[in-house]
Amino acid sequence: MRGVSDLVTPDDSEFVALARQGDHRAFAELVRRHQDRVFRFLLRMIGSRDEATDLTQDTFMKAYQALPGWRPEARFSTWLFQIARNAALDVLRRRGLAEFVPIEDALVVADPAPTPEERLGISQRLHLLEHALAQLPADHREVLLLREIEDLSYAEIAVALGVAEGTVKSRIARARAALIDTYRRDPGGHRDE
């Protein structure tokens, strides 16, 4: 049986094949490859670093248990996002926040009186964008994160979310419009510059 060290530049599917045979080192390598992407996604979905850290670990443990069910037709990363997304929605449901959060009520600008210079600052703008993103409904937020941050295609997002590609297309458009609208209402948003 080949081991991890025998592989030159293996892709995920080769590591998955080894992990399925009980090679823990191969699975650990898969974890290293994808841990930051999964963590980043979970952090912005649930907003808590500690919870996102725990959930990232849980995601990989669940993935290991479910390895026999993985099919090479789907990219391993897409499959991981599917597991991570379900875990994030479970957390949000427990918190009772999976439902739509009215933007008007949710948007509270961190700094009430920024100077004009500060308003133009990139870090300030990104902070506000991060905040506005956190106020989006979970179904809008997840689709934007997968598309804009993780660069998944519409087809891959459809697999991760378990919906049709047409749904992904319209949901991304609505999410973008909602985020721009939130940004526009925000006194520090780029639309007012």
């Binding site: 650990a28 290293r32 290991y64 458009a173």
Partner: protein, 151 residues
């Protein structure tokens, strides 16, 4: 914006290069000539650039080693039994079935051949199957009395 303007969903798909070639050319031409749609498309592009510029959050430690350690502590999965029984798996069941059938035959033979079997005198005297119930009256039929009994 007028009636010929594309909807936001088309501009969004155009940004993602997810349109068919013909639709892509149509939207491209429209955005180049429509101030309203050009502004909306510019908003989408700025939003994309800003989202890409968000801090690149990282976990900060080697989760692979942690997971590898947790997996090593788990009990090894028990291999699943193959479907169907191996040859020796049927042996106890076969022996049991053969013993049951033999016992049945023996008991059956004892019943059918029982008329010729000689019963011990003590057993015969019990006369459990006497045609007259115990305490019943006998009106002189021979059958009422055991053969050779004193009337």
């Amino acid at each position: 914006m007028n009636e010929t303007c594309p909807r936001t969903v088309e501009l969004s798909a155009f940004l993602d290069q997810q349109l068919e070639a013909r639709d892509r050319e149509r939207i491209e031409a429209h955005v180049a000539s429509c101030v309203v749609c050009a502004a909306e498309f510019a908003d989408l592009r700025v939003l994309r650039a800003d989202l890409k510029a968000l801090p690149d959050e990282t976990l900060g430690f080697d989760l692979g080693s942690v997971v590898e350690g947790r997996l090593a502590q788990r009990p090894r999965p028990v291999p699943r039994r193959r479907p169907g029984r191996p040859l020796f798996g049927w042996l106890p069941l076969g022996v049991g079935m053969a013993a049951s059938v033999s016992l049945g035959f023996t008991l059956g033979a004892m019943l059918t051949m029982g008329t010729g079997a000689r019963l011990a005198p003590g057993v015969a005297a019990m006369a459990v199957f006497d045609p007259v119930a115990p305490g019943g009256l006998c009106i002189g039929l021979e059958a009422c009395y055991a053969r050779g009994a004193v009337r």
